[in-house]
C-alpha cells in the first residue's frame, strides 16, 4: 500500500484543524470540521483498500475472489452517518445563535462572558475573579 492516502489524510486533518482554530465564522468552522472528518474517510478507505480486488459483493463473483476489506467500508458508512448528524446539529445551533445574537463570530460569542468581543487574548477578565480570593 502506498503512503499517499496516509499523507492526504494527515494533510486534510491538519488543514482542517488550522481552519477551525483561525475561523471567525461558525459556518466556515463547521466546514473545516467536515474537512477534518474527510481525513478519517480517506484514512479508513486507504487502510481497507487492496489492489486488483473487487468490491466486497460476491453476487457475480465466485467466493474466494480477492475483495477490499468490507469492515472498513462499514466503518466509513457509520462515520458518514455520524458526520451528517453532527453537521445538522451544529448548523441548527448556529442558526439559533444567529437568531439570538445576530452574529456568527466565535469571538463575539464567548459563553459566560457577557461583554465579550474586544481584542483577542486577555481582553476579558473572568467574571468576578478577583472578588473571591
Amino acid at each position: 500500500m502506498s503512503w499517499l492516502p496516509y499523507a492526504v489524510a494527515a494533510w486534510l486533518f491538519g488543514i482542517g484543524l488550522f481552519g477551525i482554530s483561525t475561523s471567525r465564522n461558525y459556518i466556515h468552522l463547521i466546514g473545516c470540521l467536515s474537512v477534518c472528518q474527510s481525513a478519517t474517510y480517506v484514512l479508513l478507505l486507504g487502510i481497507g483498500y487492496r489492489w486488483d480486488a473487487i468490491a466486497p459483493i460476491f453476487y457475480d463473483h465466485p467466493p474466494g475472489t480477492p475483495a477490499v476489506d468490507p469492515v472498513m467500508q462499514a466503518l466509513v458508512l457509520t462515520d458518514i452517518v455520524v458526520g451528517a448528524t453532527l453537521t445538522a446539529l451544529l448548523l441548527v445551533l448556529t442558526l439559533q445563535v444567529y437568531k439570538r445574537s445576530g452574529t456568527l463570530d466565535p469571538e463575539r460569542l464567548r459563553p459566560m462572558r457577557k461583554n465579550a468581543g474586544g481584542g483577542r487574548v486577555g481582553a476579558r477578565q473572568e467574571p468576578g475573579a478577583e472578588a473571591q480570593l
Binding site: 489524510a9 486533518f13 484543524l17 477551525i20 482554530s21 483561525t22 475561523s23 461558525y26 468552522l29 470540521l33 477534518c36 472528518q37 481525513a39 478519517t40 484514512l43 479508513l44 487502510i47 469492515v71 472498513m72 466503518l75 457509520t78 462515520d79 455520524v82 448528524t85 453532527l86 446539529l89 451544529l90 445551533l93 448556529t94 439559533q96 445563535v97 439570538r100 445574537s101 466565535p106 469571538e107 460569542l109 464567548r110 459563553p111 459566560m112 462572558r113 457577557k114 465579550a116 483577542r120 487574548v121 486577555g122 476579558r124 477578565q125 473572568e126 467574571p127 468576578g128 475573579a129 478577583e130 472578588a131 473571591q132 480570593l133
Partner: protein, 589 residues
C-alpha cells in the same frame, strides 16, 4: 419461592443487552406516544426505566462476580477462535459502574420532575438515549462499537446542553460539540490504525495482537489518538476547556449527569483500554505512566485553582469536576491494581457527591432565581437542608473520611505512594482541598451570610438565569439527599471485598492493593477549611497579612484566566498541543 425473588428465573445469557435495549425501546415508545400522554407520564416512565436499568445492571454485576457475562449479537459467536461478530462482555466492575449510572439517571429524572413544561417528552427521550449509550459504552468489548456508543453519547449530550436555547447555552454547546466531534474523529482514526495492524476490533484479540507487535509505531499511534479522544471527553488538561463552558450552561439535571457520569466514563474507557488492550506494549505503558501522572497532577491543580476563582456556582462545580477527573487519571497512570481499583471506587463516589452538589445548585436556581455566589449571599435562609447538603458535599469532596469517595481516595493515594509518585499524591491532596474550599466557601456565604457585604459587586456579571420555580422543594431535595446517603452508607468492608475481587477481572491480571495513610484525607480537609475561612474572613484580617497572600496569587490567576478564553479556536490549538506532547512521549519511551 425464594428463587423467584433472587431473579434466578432470568437466564444470564440474555441479560447483557437488556439494559441498553430497554431505554432505547422506551425512547421509541415516548417518541411515538408522548404527545398523547397526560401530564407527568413521561417523567414517571423515564424514572422507572432508569431504575429498571440500574436494577438489571446490579443483577448482571452480581451474576458476573466469578466470570464476565459474554453476549454475542445475532448469535455471531467466535468461529475457530476468530471473533466475527460484536459482543458485550460485562465483568463485575463494569456492571456496578453501569448500575451506578442507572441510579444517577433515576435521581436526575426525579429531580427534573416538572422541570420542563410541554416538552412532549423530548427531554426524557434524549436522556434515555444518553443512558443507553453510556451503558453500551461500559459493556462493549468491540472497539468500533465503543466508538458508536461514544458518538451516541456525545450527540445526546450536545442536544441536552443547548436545551434552553439562550445565548450562553448555545455558545457553550457549540464549543462542546466542536471539541468533542474532533475527539470522535481522532478516535476513529486510531481505530483504523489499530485495525490495520491487528485485523480485528475485539478487545481480547486486539490485546493479543498488541502484545505480539512489540514496539510498533502504528500501535503507538493508535493508542495516542484513542487516548486523546477519551481524555478530551474526560476533560484532562490541556483538553479541559470545553467542560466548564458546557456544564455551566446545561440545565441542572443534565449537569448532574455530565459531571457525575459522562466525564468519568471517558476515564473508565481509557482505564479499560489501557488495562485490557494496550497492556502488552511496554512503549505505551511507559508513556502512559509519564503522561497520565503529569497531566493528572496538572489537571487536579488547575481545576482546583479555577474552582476557587469562580462565583458562578455551576461553573465552580464544573471546574471542581475537572480537578477530580485529574485525580482519577492519576489512578490510570499508577498502572497498578490499586490505581484502577481506586479509580473505580472514586468514580462512583465522586459521581454521587457531585450529582448532589449540582442538584443544590439547581435548587438555588429554582427557588432563589440566582446562581451567582456573591449575589446569593445570605439568601439561603428557608432552604436550610439544601445548605446542609451543600456543606456535606463540600466536606466529602475534600476528603471527609466517610463513605465511598474517601475509600477510593485512600486506595488511590496508596497506589500512588507504592508506585513512587509522591508529587502526584500531593496534587490529589491540594486539588481536593481547593475544590472542597470553593464549595464550602460558597455554602458559608449563601447559607450563613458569611463574608463581606458585597455592595455594588452583588450585580452578577453573567446574564440573569433562573430555572422553573414551582416545583416542591422536597422533590428536588430528596434525590440529592439520597445520592449523598448512598455515598456515605456504602459498607466499607463489603465494598473493599467487592473491589478486591472485581478489579483483577476488570484488568485481566492479578494482584492486590493497600490503602494510603489515614492522615492524608484530613490534610486536604484542613487545607479546604483554611482556604474557605480565609476567603470568607479576609476583610477582617490585618492588611499586612492579607495583602502579600493575595499578591502571590495574582500572576498565576491572570495567566489561567487568559488561557480559559472561551474561544473555540484556542481550545483546538490546545488539543493539538496535548496530542503532540503525548505523541512525543510515545516516540521517546
Amino acid at each position: 419461592m425464594p428463587d423467584w425473588f433472587s431473579l434466578g428465573w432470568i437466564p444470564s445469557a440474555v441479560l447483557p443487552p437488556l439494559p441498553v435495549a430497554l431505554p432505547l425501546a422506551m425512547c421509541a415508545t415516548l417518541l411515538a406516544t408522548a404527545h398523547l400522554m397526560p401530564g407527568r407520564w413521561p417523567d414517571i416512565l423515564a424514572s422507572l426505566t432508569a431504575l429498571a436499568v440500574a436494577a438489571l445492571c446490579g443483577l448482571i454485576a452480581v451474576r458476573a462476580a466469578d466470570a464476565p457475562l459474554v453476549y454475542w449479537f445475532g448469535g455471531w459467536t467466535p468461529r475457530a477462535g476468530m471473533p466475527l461478530g460484536i459482543g458485550f462482555s460485562v465483568d463485575a466492575a463494569s456492571g456496578w459502574v453501569a448500575a451506578f449510572i442507572g441510579t444517577l439517571f433515576a435521581a436526575s429524572f426525579v429531580f427534573a420532575w416538572g422541570f420542563f413544561e410541554e416538552t412532549h417528552g423530548h427531554f426524557q427521550i434524549l436522556m434515555l438515549l444518553f443512558l443507553a449509550a453510556m451503558v453500551g459504552f461500559v459493556f462493549t468489548r468491540d472497539l468500533f462499537n465503543l466508538f458508536v456508543w461514544f458518538e451516541v453519547m456525545s450527540v445526546a449530550a450536545f442536544a441536552l446542553t443547548a436545551y434552553h436555547l439562550d445565548e450562553s447555552a448555545l455558545a457553550g454547546a457549540l464549543n462542546f460539540t466542536v471539541t468533542n466531534s474532533l475527539a470522535g474523529f481522532l478516535m476513529l482514526g486510531g481505530i483504523g490504525l489499530i485495525y490495520a495492524r491487528a485485523g480485528t476490533l475485539d478487545f481480547e484479540e486486539l490485546a493479543r495482537a498488541v502484545a505480539h507487535a512489540g514496539r510498533d509505531p502504528v500501535t503507538a499511534g493508535a493508542f495516542c489518538l484513542v487516548a486523546t479522544a477519551l481524555m478530551i471527553k474526560a476533560a484532562v488538561v490541556p483538553f479541559q476547556f470545553w467542560l466548564a463552558d458546557a456544564h455551566a450552561v446545561a440545565p441542572s439535571p443534565v449537569s448532574v449527569i455530565f459531571s457525575g457520569a459522562m466525564v468519568s466514563l471517558g476515564l473508565f474507557g481509557l482505564a479499560k483500554l489501557t488495562a485490557v488492550v494496550f497492556t502488552g506494549s511496554d512503549q505505551v505503558r511507559g508513556a502512559v505512566s509519564l503522561f497520565m501522572i503529569g497531566a493528572g497532577s496538572a489537571t487536579a491543580l488547575v481545576g482546583g485553582w479555577m474552582a476557587v476563582l469562580q462565583r458562578h456556582l455551576k461553573r465552580l462545580l464544573a471546574f471542581s469536576t475537572i480537578s477530580h477527573a485529574g485525580i482519577m487519571l492519576l489512578g490510570i497512570g499508577a498502572l497498578s491494581q490499586g490505581g484502577t481499583g481506586g479509580l473505580l471506587l472514586y468514580l462512583v463516589g465522586h459521581g454521587l457527591v457531585k450529582g448532589a452538589l449540582f442538584m443544590v445548585a439547581g435548587i438555588l436556581l429554582a427557588t432563589r432565581a440566582g446562581i451567582d455566589e456573591i449575589a446569593l449571599r445570605g439568601l439561603g435562609h428557608g432552604i436550610g437542608p439544601a445548605g446542609i447538603a451543600m456543606a456535606l458535599g463540600g466536606l466529602l469532596l475534600c476528603g471527609l473520611p466517610l463513605g465511598l469517595l474517601d475509600q477510593g481516595t485512600r486506595v488511590l493515594q496508596g497506589a500512588l505512594l507504592d508506585g513512587g509518585h509522591p508529587f502526584a499524591v500531593a496534587a490529589t491532596v491540594v486539588g481536593a482541598g481547593l475544590t472542597g474550599a470553593a464549595v464550602l466557601r460558597a455554602a458559608g456565604r449563601i447559607f450563613l451570610g458569611l463574608g463581606p457585604d458585597p455592595g455594588n459587586e452583588a450585580q452578577a456579571p453573567s446574564e440573569a438565569e433562573r430555572e422553573k420555580a414551582n416545583r416542591p422543594l422536597w422533590l428536588m431535595l430528596a434525590p440529592c439527599l439520597v445520592l449523598l446517603a448512598l455515598n456515605i452508607s456504602a459498607p466499607e468492608a463489603g465494598v473493599a471485598r467487592l473491589a478486591a475481587k472485581a478489579t483483577p477481572t476488570f484488568m485481566h491480571q492479578g494482584g492486590g492493593f493497600g490503602h494510603g495513610p489515614e492522615w492524608l484525607p484530613w490534610l486536604s480537609l484542613a487545607l479546604a477549611l483554611v482556604i474557605a475561612a480565609f476567603a470568607l474572613g479576609r476583610h477582617k484580617l490585618p492588611r499586612w497579612f492579607s495583602r502579600p497572600v493575595r499578591a502571590t496569587q495574582l500572576a498565576p490567576t491572570r495567566l489561567l484566566e487568559q488561557v480559559h478564553s472561551g474561544l473555540i479556536g484556542d481550545y483546538v490549538t490546545w488539543v493539538v498541543v496535548g496530542l503532540t506532547i503525548l505523541a512525543g512521549l510515545l516516540a521517546t519511551s
